[in-house]
Protein backbone atom coordinates (compact mmCIF):
# COMPACT_ATOMS: atom_id res chain seq x y z
CA UNK A 1 0.00 0.00 0.00
CA UNK A 2 2.96 2.30 -0.60
CA UNK A 3 1.66 4.33 -3.52
CA UNK A 4 -2.03 3.44 -3.46
CA UNK A 5 -4.66 4.42 -0.95
CA UNK A 6 -7.90 2.72 -0.10
CA UNK A 7 -11.02 4.30 -1.53
CA UNK A 8 -13.31 1.98 0.37
CA UNK A 9 -12.42 0.67 3.80
CA UNK A 10 -14.75 -1.61 5.68
CA UNK A 11 -13.50 -2.67 9.05
CA UNK A 12 -15.32 -5.32 11.07
CA UNK A 13 -18.68 -4.26 9.60
CA UNK A 14 -21.79 -5.97 10.93
CA UNK A 15 -25.25 -5.12 9.67
CA UNK A 16 -28.10 -6.75 11.51
CA UNK A 17 -31.84 -6.39 11.65
CA UNK A 18 -34.00 -7.49 14.58
CA UNK A 19 -34.31 -11.07 13.38
CA UNK A 20 -31.25 -11.67 11.29
CA UNK A 21 -27.73 -10.65 10.57
CA UNK A 22 -26.98 -9.73 6.98
CA UNK A 23 -23.28 -8.99 7.21
CA UNK A 24 -20.95 -10.13 9.94
CA UNK A 25 -17.54 -8.60 10.66
CA UNK A 26 -16.74 -7.81 7.10
CA UNK A 27 -13.32 -6.30 6.56
CA UNK A 28 -12.52 -5.26 3.03
CA UNK A 29 -10.40 -2.66 1.28
CA UNK A 30 -10.68 -1.39 -2.25
CA UNK A 31 -7.72 0.57 -3.53
CA UNK A 32 -7.81 3.36 -6.08
CA UNK A 33 -7.95 1.99 -9.60
CA UNK A 34 -8.85 -1.50 -8.50
CA UNK A 35 -11.59 -3.70 -10.00
CA UNK A 36 -13.09 -5.79 -7.21
CA UNK A 37 -15.79 -8.36 -7.82
CA UNK A 38 -17.94 -9.42 -4.90
CA UNK A 39 -19.59 -12.77 -5.44
CA UNK A 40 -21.74 -14.89 -3.18
CA UNK A 41 -24.99 -16.83 -3.01
CA UNK A 42 -28.41 -15.14 -2.98
CA UNK A 43 -29.15 -13.50 0.34
CA UNK A 44 -25.47 -13.38 1.22
CA UNK A 45 -25.60 -9.64 1.85
CA UNK A 46 -23.98 -8.46 -1.38
CA UNK A 47 -26.51 -5.69 -2.03
CA UNK A 48 -26.39 -4.67 1.64
CA UNK A 49 -22.64 -4.36 1.30
CA UNK A 50 -23.11 -1.90 -1.57
CA UNK A 51 -25.74 0.01 0.38
CA UNK A 52 -23.37 0.25 3.32
CA UNK A 53 -20.73 1.71 1.01
CA UNK A 54 -23.34 4.16 -0.31
CA UNK A 55 -24.37 5.11 3.21
CA UNK A 56 -28.00 4.06 2.66
CA UNK A 57 -27.56 1.30 5.22
CA UNK A 58 -25.60 2.05 8.38
CA UNK A 59 -23.55 -0.63 10.05
CA UNK A 60 -24.69 -1.95 13.41
CA UNK A 61 -21.04 -2.30 14.33
CA UNK A 62 -17.73 -1.51 12.69
CA UNK A 63 -16.64 1.32 10.44
CA UNK A 64 -17.25 2.14 6.81
CA UNK A 65 -15.03 4.75 5.20
CA UNK A 66 -15.40 5.91 1.62
CA UNK A 67 -12.87 8.50 0.44
CA UNK A 68 -11.77 8.56 4.07
CA UNK A 69 -15.17 9.49 5.51
CA UNK A 70 -18.32 7.66 6.61
CA UNK A 71 -20.41 7.70 3.41
CA UNK A 72 -23.40 9.43 5.01
CA UNK A 73 -21.12 12.36 5.86
CA UNK A 74 -19.73 12.71 2.36
CA UNK A 75 -22.00 15.60 1.44
CA UNK A 76 -21.05 16.88 -1.98
CA UNK A 77 -18.34 14.24 -2.25
CA UNK A 78 -21.15 11.75 -2.62
CA UNK A 79 -21.14 12.56 -6.33
CA UNK A 80 -17.69 10.94 -6.48
CA UNK A 81 -19.56 7.63 -6.18
CA UNK A 82 -21.51 6.35 -9.16
CA UNK A 83 -24.11 3.65 -8.51
CA UNK A 84 -25.80 1.24 -10.90
CA UNK A 85 -28.65 -0.45 -9.02
CA UNK A 86 -30.29 -3.71 -9.94
CA UNK A 87 -32.36 -3.12 -13.04
CA UNK A 88 -35.35 -5.08 -11.78
CA UNK A 89 -36.31 -2.30 -9.40
CA UNK A 90 -37.54 0.20 -12.00
CA UNK A 91 -40.38 0.38 -14.51
CA UNK A 92 -38.65 -0.40 -17.79
CA UNK A 93 -41.39 1.35 -19.77
CA UNK A 94 -41.22 4.59 -17.80
CA UNK A 95 -41.91 7.41 -20.28
CA UNK A 96 -38.50 9.06 -20.49
CA UNK A 97 -35.78 9.02 -23.12
CA UNK A 98 -32.31 7.64 -22.52
CA UNK A 99 -30.98 11.19 -22.41
CA UNK A 100 -33.53 12.23 -19.79
CA UNK A 101 -32.76 9.17 -17.67
CA UNK A 102 -29.02 9.87 -17.80
CA UNK A 103 -29.64 13.51 -16.88
CA UNK A 104 -31.32 12.35 -13.65
CA UNK A 105 -27.86 11.36 -12.46
CA UNK A 106 -27.12 15.09 -12.18
CA UNK A 107 -30.32 16.15 -10.42
CA UNK A 108 -28.76 16.07 -6.96
CA UNK A 109 -25.99 18.38 -8.09
CA UNK A 110 -28.33 20.72 -10.02
CA UNK A 111 -30.51 21.23 -6.95
CA UNK A 112 -34.22 21.76 -6.29
CA UNK A 113 -36.00 24.35 -8.42
CA UNK A 114 -33.20 24.71 -10.99
CA UNK A 115 -33.02 23.49 -14.56
CA UNK A 116 -30.13 21.60 -16.13
CA UNK A 117 -27.52 24.03 -17.47
CA UNK A 118 -25.15 23.63 -20.38
CA UNK A 119 -22.46 21.97 -18.25
CA UNK A 120 -25.03 19.36 -17.20
CA UNK A 121 -25.95 18.64 -20.79
CA UNK A 122 -22.28 18.36 -21.68
CA UNK A 123 -21.63 15.96 -18.83
CA UNK A 124 -24.57 13.82 -19.96
CA UNK A 125 -23.26 13.86 -23.51
CA UNK A 126 -19.79 12.75 -22.34
CA UNK A 127 -21.25 10.01 -20.16
CA UNK A 128 -23.26 8.67 -23.10
CA UNK A 129 -20.19 8.77 -25.31
CA UNK A 130 -18.17 6.81 -22.78
CA UNK A 131 -20.63 3.93 -22.84
CA UNK A 132 -21.32 4.23 -26.57
CA UNK A 133 -25.04 5.10 -26.60
CA UNK A 134 -25.07 8.64 -28.02
CA UNK A 135 -27.16 7.41 -30.95
CA UNK A 136 -29.87 6.34 -28.51
CA UNK A 137 -30.23 9.69 -26.74
CA UNK A 138 -33.79 10.29 -27.92
CA UNK A 139 -34.97 6.71 -27.67
CA UNK A 140 -37.63 6.00 -25.04
CA UNK A 141 -36.05 3.66 -22.50
CA UNK A 142 -38.74 1.07 -23.15
CA UNK A 143 -37.26 0.58 -26.62
CA UNK A 144 -33.75 -0.22 -25.43
CA UNK A 145 -32.44 -3.77 -25.38
CA UNK A 146 -31.22 -5.22 -22.11
CA UNK A 147 -27.61 -4.43 -22.91
CA UNK A 148 -28.35 -0.89 -24.08
CA UNK A 149 -30.37 -0.26 -20.96
CA UNK A 150 -27.50 -1.37 -18.76
CA UNK A 151 -25.17 0.99 -20.57
CA UNK A 152 -27.68 3.75 -20.03
CA UNK A 153 -27.69 3.09 -16.28
CA UNK A 154 -23.90 3.16 -16.29
CA UNK A 155 -24.03 6.47 -18.17
CA UNK A 156 -26.41 7.82 -15.51
CA UNK A 157 -23.87 6.83 -12.87
CA UNK A 158 -21.07 8.41 -14.93
CA UNK A 159 -22.97 11.67 -15.39
CA UNK A 160 -21.39 12.99 -12.19
CA UNK A 161 -17.94 11.94 -13.37
CA UNK A 162 -17.37 9.69 -10.37
CA UNK A 163 -14.10 8.12 -9.28
CA UNK A 164 -15.79 5.04 -7.92
CA UNK A 165 -18.43 2.95 -9.64
CA UNK A 166 -20.60 0.47 -7.73
CA UNK A 167 -22.66 -2.00 -9.73
CA UNK A 168 -25.27 -4.41 -8.41
CA UNK A 169 -25.77 -7.52 -10.56
CA UNK A 170 -25.39 -5.47 -13.75
CA UNK A 171 -25.80 -8.30 -16.21
CA UNK A 172 -28.78 -10.18 -14.81
CA UNK A 173 -31.01 -11.30 -17.65
CA UNK A 174 -28.76 -10.33 -20.56
CA UNK A 175 -27.17 -12.86 -22.88
CA UNK A 176 -23.56 -13.99 -22.76
CA UNK A 177 -22.27 -11.89 -25.65
CA UNK A 178 -23.84 -8.76 -24.17
CA UNK A 179 -22.43 -9.62 -20.75
CA UNK A 180 -18.94 -9.96 -22.23
CA UNK A 181 -19.11 -6.61 -24.00
CA UNK A 182 -20.51 -5.02 -20.86
CA UNK A 183 -17.51 -6.21 -18.85
CA UNK A 184 -15.23 -4.98 -21.64
CA UNK A 185 -16.79 -1.58 -21.04
CA UNK A 186 -16.12 -1.79 -17.29
CA UNK A 187 -12.57 -2.84 -18.04
CA UNK A 188 -12.12 0.22 -20.23
CA UNK A 189 -13.57 2.49 -17.54
CA UNK A 190 -11.11 1.00 -15.07
CA UNK A 191 -8.32 1.94 -17.47
CA UNK A 192 -9.69 5.47 -17.56
CA UNK A 193 -8.99 5.55 -13.82
CA UNK A 194 -12.31 4.58 -12.27
CA UNK A 195 -12.30 2.24 -9.29
CA UNK A 196 -14.88 -0.48 -9.77
CA UNK A 197 -16.80 -2.61 -7.30
CA UNK A 198 -19.21 -5.02 -8.93
CA UNK A 199 -21.54 -7.41 -7.16
CA UNK A 200 -22.43 -10.47 -9.16
CA UNK A 201 -23.25 -14.13 -8.98
CA UNK A 202 -21.54 -14.77 -12.29
CA UNK A 203 -18.09 -15.90 -11.15
CA UNK A 204 -17.08 -17.10 -14.57
CA UNK A 205 -17.20 -13.66 -16.14
CA UNK A 206 -16.06 -11.50 -13.25
CA UNK A 207 -13.02 -13.68 -12.64
CA UNK A 208 -11.72 -12.79 -16.08
CA UNK A 209 -12.14 -9.03 -15.78
CA UNK A 210 -11.49 -8.22 -12.12
CA UNK A 211 -8.20 -7.89 -10.30
CA UNK A 212 -9.62 -9.24 -7.14
CA UNK A 213 -12.56 -11.39 -6.05
CA UNK A 214 -14.21 -11.44 -2.64
CA UNK A 215 -16.70 -14.13 -1.85
CA UNK A 216 -19.25 -13.13 0.72
CA UNK A 217 -21.72 -15.20 2.63
CA UNK A 218 -22.50 -12.90 5.54
CA UNK A 219 -18.77 -12.95 6.20
CA UNK A 220 -15.93 -12.51 3.78
CA UNK A 221 -15.16 -16.15 3.07
CA UNK A 222 -12.41 -15.55 0.58
CA UNK A 223 -10.61 -12.64 -0.88
CA UNK A 224 -7.81 -12.74 -3.38
CA UNK A 225 -6.76 -12.59 -6.97
CA UNK A 226 -9.19 -14.39 -9.28
CA UNK A 227 -6.80 -17.19 -10.18
CA UNK A 228 -6.12 -17.87 -6.49
CA UNK A 229 -9.71 -18.17 -5.44
CA UNK A 230 -11.80 -19.51 -8.33
CA UNK A 231 -11.58 -23.11 -7.16
CA UNK A 232 -12.79 -22.43 -3.64
CA UNK A 233 -15.27 -19.73 -4.67
CA UNK A 234 -17.64 -22.51 -5.68
CA UNK A 235 -17.66 -23.79 -2.14
CA UNK A 236 -18.44 -20.31 -0.86
CA UNK A 237 -21.21 -19.84 -3.42
CA UNK A 238 -22.98 -23.11 -2.82
CA UNK A 239 -22.77 -23.57 0.91
CA UNK A 240 -21.20 -25.99 3.38
CA UNK A 241 -22.23 -29.18 1.56
CA UNK A 242 -20.50 -27.98 -1.56
CA UNK A 243 -17.60 -26.94 0.64
CA UNK A 244 -17.20 -30.53 1.79
CA UNK A 245 -17.00 -31.61 -1.77
CA UNK A 246 -14.82 -28.67 -2.69
CA UNK A 247 -12.20 -29.74 -0.21
CA UNK A 248 -12.25 -33.25 -1.64
CA UNK A 249 -10.54 -34.50 -4.72
CA UNK A 250 -12.98 -33.37 -7.41
CA UNK A 251 -14.01 -29.78 -6.76
CA UNK A 252 -15.19 -29.08 -10.30
CA UNK A 253 -18.04 -31.54 -10.32
CA UNK A 254 -20.33 -28.93 -8.76
CA UNK A 255 -20.27 -26.54 -11.72
CA UNK A 256 -23.48 -26.03 -13.60
CA UNK A 257 -25.99 -28.12 -11.67
CA UNK A 258 -26.90 -25.73 -8.94
CA UNK A 259 -29.77 -27.69 -7.52
CA UNK A 260 -28.47 -31.16 -8.08
CA UNK A 261 -25.04 -30.67 -6.61
CA UNK A 262 -26.14 -30.31 -3.02
CA UNK A 263 -27.75 -33.71 -2.98
CA UNK A 264 -24.79 -35.22 -4.73
CA UNK A 265 -22.52 -33.50 -2.25
CA UNK A 266 -24.44 -35.01 0.63
CA UNK A 267 -24.42 -38.33 -1.16
CA UNK A 268 -20.69 -38.35 -1.45
CA UNK A 269 -20.28 -37.16 2.11
CA UNK A 270 -22.33 -40.10 3.33
CA UNK A 271 -20.47 -42.55 1.17
Amino acid sequence: MADTHSIIELHDVTVSYPYHTVLESVTLHVDAGQFLAVVGPNGAGKTTLLKAVLGIVRPTRGTVLVFGKPPWLLGRDRSRIGYVPQVQTVDLHFPVTAHEAVMMGRFGRIGVGRRPAREDREAVQRAMERVGITNLADAPIGRLSGGQRQRMFVARALANEPELLLLDEPTTGVDIATTESFYELLHRLQHEGITILVVSHDIGVVARYSDSVACINQRVELHGRPEEVTGSVLACMYGPQAALLGHGAVPHIVVGEHDAHIESAQGSADA
Partner: protein
Amino acid sequence: MLEILHYDFMQRALLAGLIIGSVCAVIGVYVVLRGISFIGAGISHAAFGGVALGFALGINAVIAAVIFCLAVSWGIGIVSKRGEVREDTAVGVFFAATMALGVLVIGLMKGYQVDLFGYLFGSILAVSRGDLIASAVLGAVVLVTVALLYKELLFISFDQEMAEVVGVPAERIHLILLGLIALTVVLSMKVVGIILVSALIVTPAAAAYQLTEDFRKMMALSVVLGVFATTGGLLLSYRLNTGSGATIVLLTTLVFLVSVALSPRRRMGRGVKAVVDPIAPQT
Protein backbone atom coordinates in the same frame (compact mmCIF):
# COMPACT_ATOMS: atom_id res chain seq x y z
CA MET B 1 -77.80 22.52 -24.62
CA LEU B 2 -75.82 25.73 -24.16
CA GLU B 3 -78.54 27.36 -22.08
CA ILE B 4 -77.44 25.33 -19.07
CA LEU B 5 -74.32 27.47 -19.02
CA HIS B 6 -76.52 30.34 -17.86
CA TYR B 7 -77.13 28.67 -14.54
CA ASP B 8 -74.76 29.90 -11.88
CA PHE B 9 -74.43 26.49 -10.29
CA MET B 10 -73.49 24.98 -13.65
CA GLN B 11 -70.88 27.64 -14.33
CA ARG B 12 -69.37 27.02 -10.92
CA ALA B 13 -69.47 23.27 -11.39
CA LEU B 14 -67.81 23.49 -14.80
CA LEU B 15 -65.10 25.83 -13.55
CA ALA B 16 -64.50 23.50 -10.63
CA GLY B 17 -64.48 20.60 -13.11
CA LEU B 18 -61.78 22.34 -15.12
CA ILE B 19 -59.61 22.79 -12.04
CA ILE B 20 -60.28 19.31 -10.71
CA GLY B 21 -59.76 17.60 -14.05
CA SER B 22 -56.38 19.21 -14.59
CA VAL B 23 -55.02 18.96 -11.05
CA CYS B 24 -56.08 15.31 -10.66
CA ALA B 25 -54.53 14.52 -14.03
CA VAL B 26 -51.19 16.14 -13.14
CA ILE B 27 -50.91 14.43 -9.75
CA GLY B 28 -52.20 11.23 -11.30
CA VAL B 29 -49.18 11.04 -13.59
CA TYR B 30 -46.92 10.70 -10.56
CA VAL B 31 -49.31 8.38 -8.75
CA VAL B 32 -49.46 6.05 -11.76
CA LEU B 33 -45.76 6.13 -12.57
CA ARG B 34 -44.79 5.68 -8.95
CA GLY B 35 -47.28 2.85 -8.56
CA ILE B 36 -49.06 4.30 -5.51
CA SER B 37 -52.68 4.19 -6.67
CA PHE B 38 -53.68 2.42 -3.50
CA ILE B 39 -52.30 5.27 -1.39
CA GLY B 40 -54.47 7.65 -3.42
CA ALA B 41 -57.53 5.57 -2.54
CA GLY B 42 -56.48 5.43 1.10
CA ILE B 43 -55.97 9.17 1.41
CA SER B 44 -59.26 9.94 -0.31
CA HIS B 45 -61.20 7.80 2.14
CA ALA B 46 -59.49 9.63 4.96
CA ALA B 47 -61.18 12.81 3.74
CA PHE B 48 -64.47 11.40 5.02
CA GLY B 49 -63.12 11.21 8.55
CA GLY B 50 -61.89 14.78 8.16
CA VAL B 51 -65.23 16.11 6.91
CA ALA B 52 -67.13 14.37 9.72
CA LEU B 53 -64.75 15.71 12.38
CA GLY B 54 -65.09 19.14 10.83
CA PHE B 55 -68.86 19.01 11.26
CA ALA B 56 -68.58 17.70 14.79
CA LEU B 57 -66.11 20.39 15.85
CA GLY B 58 -67.79 23.15 13.85
CA ILE B 59 -64.77 23.67 11.61
CA ASN B 60 -65.03 24.34 7.89
CA ALA B 61 -65.21 20.97 6.12
CA VAL B 62 -62.47 21.82 3.62
CA ILE B 63 -60.02 22.96 6.28
CA ALA B 64 -60.80 19.96 8.47
CA ALA B 65 -60.38 17.61 5.51
CA VAL B 66 -57.07 19.21 4.49
CA ILE B 67 -55.63 18.83 7.99
CA PHE B 68 -56.94 15.31 8.43
CA CYS B 69 -55.82 14.08 5.00
CA LEU B 70 -52.36 15.58 5.38
CA ALA B 71 -52.03 13.91 8.78
CA VAL B 72 -53.13 10.55 7.40
CA SER B 73 -50.96 10.73 4.28
CA TRP B 74 -47.87 11.63 6.29
CA GLY B 75 -48.82 9.05 8.90
CA ILE B 76 -48.83 6.39 6.20
CA GLY B 77 -45.58 7.71 4.74
CA ILE B 78 -43.75 7.83 8.06
CA VAL B 79 -45.02 4.55 9.51
CA SER B 80 -44.05 2.66 6.37
CA LYS B 81 -40.72 4.46 6.16
CA ARG B 82 -39.69 2.98 9.47
CA GLY B 83 -39.94 -0.37 7.73
CA GLU B 84 -41.98 -2.09 10.44
CA VAL B 85 -45.16 -1.91 8.38
CA ARG B 86 -45.35 -2.21 4.62
CA GLU B 87 -46.84 0.75 2.82
CA ASP B 88 -49.85 -1.10 1.43
CA THR B 89 -50.51 -2.57 4.88
CA ALA B 90 -50.41 0.91 6.41
CA VAL B 91 -52.87 2.12 3.77
CA GLY B 92 -55.10 -0.89 4.38
CA VAL B 93 -55.25 -0.08 8.08
CA PHE B 94 -55.80 3.69 7.82
CA PHE B 95 -58.18 3.46 4.90
CA ALA B 96 -60.94 1.67 6.80
CA ALA B 97 -60.15 3.27 10.15
CA THR B 98 -60.60 6.84 8.94
CA MET B 99 -63.81 5.92 7.16
CA ALA B 100 -65.09 4.20 10.32
CA LEU B 101 -64.16 7.23 12.39
CA GLY B 102 -66.24 9.40 10.05
CA VAL B 103 -69.25 7.11 10.35
CA LEU B 104 -68.90 7.01 14.13
CA VAL B 105 -68.65 10.78 14.48
CA ILE B 106 -71.64 11.38 12.19
CA GLY B 107 -73.59 8.81 14.18
CA LEU B 108 -72.84 10.62 17.43
CA MET B 109 -74.15 13.92 16.09
CA LYS B 110 -77.81 13.18 16.63
CA GLY B 111 -80.25 15.14 14.56
CA TYR B 112 -77.59 16.79 12.43
CA GLN B 113 -78.31 16.09 8.80
CA VAL B 114 -75.32 16.50 6.54
CA ASP B 115 -75.39 15.88 2.82
CA LEU B 116 -73.20 12.83 3.24
CA PHE B 117 -74.18 11.38 -0.08
CA GLY B 118 -72.90 14.50 -1.80
CA TYR B 119 -69.55 14.28 -0.03
CA LEU B 120 -69.22 10.59 -0.78
CA PHE B 121 -70.25 10.57 -4.42
CA GLY B 122 -70.12 14.18 -5.55
CA SER B 123 -72.88 16.56 -6.48
CA ILE B 124 -73.27 18.98 -9.31
CA LEU B 125 -75.31 21.32 -7.14
CA ALA B 126 -72.95 21.33 -4.23
CA VAL B 127 -70.31 23.72 -5.51
CA SER B 128 -70.65 27.01 -3.69
CA ARG B 129 -68.65 30.12 -4.49
CA GLY B 130 -66.49 29.37 -1.47
CA ASP B 131 -65.88 25.81 -2.69
CA LEU B 132 -64.81 27.12 -6.05
CA ILE B 133 -62.35 29.53 -4.45
CA ALA B 134 -61.05 26.78 -2.17
CA SER B 135 -60.53 24.50 -5.19
CA ALA B 136 -58.71 27.23 -7.08
CA VAL B 137 -56.40 28.01 -4.15
CA LEU B 138 -55.60 24.37 -3.40
CA GLY B 139 -55.16 23.67 -7.11
CA ALA B 140 -52.72 26.54 -7.43
CA VAL B 141 -50.73 25.26 -4.45
CA VAL B 142 -50.52 21.79 -6.01
CA LEU B 143 -49.55 22.99 -9.48
CA VAL B 144 -46.94 25.48 -8.26
CA THR B 145 -45.36 22.81 -6.06
CA VAL B 146 -45.28 20.35 -8.96
CA ALA B 147 -43.65 22.98 -11.16
CA LEU B 148 -40.99 23.69 -8.52
CA LEU B 149 -40.26 20.02 -7.87
CA TYR B 150 -40.70 18.86 -11.46
CA LYS B 151 -37.29 17.15 -11.76
CA GLU B 152 -37.36 15.65 -8.30
CA LEU B 153 -40.88 14.24 -8.59
CA LEU B 154 -39.96 12.71 -11.92
CA PHE B 155 -36.84 11.16 -10.47
CA ILE B 156 -38.43 9.64 -7.37
CA SER B 157 -41.22 8.25 -9.54
CA PHE B 158 -38.66 6.55 -11.73
CA ASP B 159 -36.12 5.42 -9.17
CA GLN B 160 -36.40 6.64 -5.61
CA GLU B 161 -33.33 4.83 -4.34
CA MET B 162 -31.11 6.30 -7.03
CA ALA B 163 -32.55 9.75 -6.38
CA GLU B 164 -31.48 9.40 -2.77
CA VAL B 165 -28.03 8.21 -3.79
CA VAL B 166 -27.33 11.25 -5.96
CA GLY B 167 -28.39 13.57 -3.19
CA VAL B 168 -32.03 14.38 -4.02
CA PRO B 169 -33.98 14.57 -0.73
CA ALA B 170 -36.13 11.67 -1.93
CA GLU B 171 -37.87 10.89 1.32
CA ARG B 172 -39.04 14.47 1.82
CA ILE B 173 -40.14 14.73 -1.81
CA HIS B 174 -42.17 11.55 -1.35
CA LEU B 175 -43.92 13.03 1.69
CA ILE B 176 -44.60 16.21 -0.27
CA LEU B 177 -46.14 14.12 -3.05
CA LEU B 178 -48.39 12.41 -0.49
CA GLY B 179 -49.38 15.85 0.76
CA LEU B 180 -50.19 16.97 -2.78
CA ILE B 181 -52.39 13.89 -3.22
CA ALA B 182 -54.21 14.88 -0.01
CA LEU B 183 -54.83 18.42 -1.28
CA THR B 184 -55.99 17.10 -4.65
CA VAL B 185 -58.48 14.80 -2.94
CA VAL B 186 -59.91 17.64 -0.87
CA LEU B 187 -60.26 20.07 -3.75
CA SER B 188 -62.10 17.41 -5.76
CA MET B 189 -64.43 16.01 -3.15
CA LYS B 190 -67.41 18.29 -3.67
CA VAL B 191 -67.81 17.51 -7.35
CA VAL B 192 -66.45 13.98 -7.67
CA GLY B 193 -66.91 12.66 -4.16
CA ILE B 194 -64.55 11.10 -1.65
CA ILE B 195 -65.15 7.55 -2.76
CA LEU B 196 -64.70 8.25 -6.45
CA VAL B 197 -61.91 10.80 -6.54
CA SER B 198 -59.07 8.29 -6.52
CA ALA B 199 -60.37 6.99 -9.85
CA LEU B 200 -60.20 10.46 -11.34
CA ILE B 201 -56.61 10.77 -10.15
CA VAL B 202 -55.47 7.43 -11.54
CA THR B 203 -57.51 6.87 -14.68
CA PRO B 204 -56.67 9.81 -17.00
CA ALA B 205 -52.97 9.35 -16.24
CA ALA B 206 -53.24 5.60 -16.78
CA ALA B 207 -54.94 6.24 -20.14
CA ALA B 208 -52.20 8.71 -21.12
CA TYR B 209 -49.53 6.17 -20.13
CA GLN B 210 -51.00 3.79 -22.67
CA LEU B 211 -50.62 6.28 -25.49
CA THR B 212 -47.16 7.80 -25.20
CA GLU B 213 -43.58 7.15 -24.16
CA ASP B 214 -42.82 10.83 -23.61
CA PHE B 215 -43.22 12.23 -20.12
CA ARG B 216 -44.38 15.71 -21.13
CA LYS B 217 -46.85 14.31 -23.64
CA MET B 218 -48.13 11.95 -20.98
CA MET B 219 -48.71 14.91 -18.65
CA ALA B 220 -50.42 16.99 -21.35
CA LEU B 221 -52.56 14.11 -22.54
CA SER B 222 -53.55 13.24 -19.01
CA VAL B 223 -54.76 16.83 -18.45
CA VAL B 224 -56.73 16.84 -21.71
CA LEU B 225 -58.39 13.53 -20.83
CA GLY B 226 -59.01 14.58 -17.24
CA VAL B 227 -60.65 17.86 -18.22
CA PHE B 228 -62.66 16.10 -20.92
CA ALA B 229 -63.91 13.64 -18.31
CA THR B 230 -64.86 16.23 -15.69
CA THR B 231 -66.54 18.76 -17.99
CA GLY B 232 -68.08 16.12 -20.24
CA GLY B 233 -69.18 14.15 -17.21
CA LEU B 234 -70.80 17.22 -15.63
CA LEU B 235 -72.75 18.04 -18.79
CA LEU B 236 -73.83 14.44 -19.15
CA SER B 237 -74.84 14.19 -15.54
CA TYR B 238 -77.01 17.27 -15.96
CA ARG B 239 -78.61 15.86 -19.12
CA LEU B 240 -79.15 12.38 -17.74
CA ASN B 241 -79.90 13.54 -14.21
CA THR B 242 -77.26 11.20 -12.82
CA GLY B 243 -74.73 11.65 -10.03
CA SER B 244 -71.86 13.87 -11.15
CA GLY B 245 -69.04 11.84 -9.56
CA ALA B 246 -70.25 8.55 -10.99
CA THR B 247 -70.79 10.02 -14.46
CA ILE B 248 -67.34 11.59 -14.52
CA VAL B 249 -65.63 8.42 -13.32
CA LEU B 250 -67.45 6.20 -15.80
CA LEU B 251 -66.58 8.60 -18.62
CA THR B 252 -62.92 8.52 -17.67
CA THR B 253 -63.06 4.73 -17.44
CA LEU B 254 -64.43 4.65 -20.96
CA VAL B 255 -61.54 6.86 -22.09
CA PHE B 256 -59.14 4.47 -20.39
CA LEU B 257 -60.61 1.41 -22.09
CA VAL B 258 -60.42 3.10 -25.48
CA SER B 259 -56.79 4.07 -24.89
CA VAL B 260 -55.90 0.52 -23.86
CA ALA B 261 -57.50 -0.68 -27.08
CA LEU B 262 -55.51 1.88 -29.09
CA SER B 263 -52.30 1.38 -27.16
CA PRO B 264 -49.29 0.18 -29.10
CA ARG B 265 -48.48 -3.40 -28.28
CA ARG B 266 -45.25 -2.46 -26.63
CA ARG B 267 -47.03 -2.20 -23.32
CA MET B 268 -47.59 -5.92 -23.32
CA GLY B 269 -44.43 -6.64 -21.39
CA ARG B 270 -45.25 -4.26 -18.56
CA GLY B 271 -45.68 -5.89 -15.22
CA VAL B 272 -43.80 -8.95 -16.29
CA LYS B 273 -40.29 -7.88 -15.34
CA ALA B 274 -38.73 -8.19 -18.75
CA VAL B 275 -35.73 -10.45 -18.90
CA VAL B 276 -35.08 -10.01 -22.58
CA ASP B 277 -36.66 -7.10 -24.35
CA PRO B 278 -38.44 -8.68 -27.30
CA ILE B 279 -39.25 -5.56 -29.28
CA ALA B 280 -36.11 -3.49 -29.11
CA PRO B 281 -34.08 -3.13 -32.26
CA GLN B 282 -30.52 -4.19 -31.52
CA THR B 283 -28.16 -1.53 -32.78
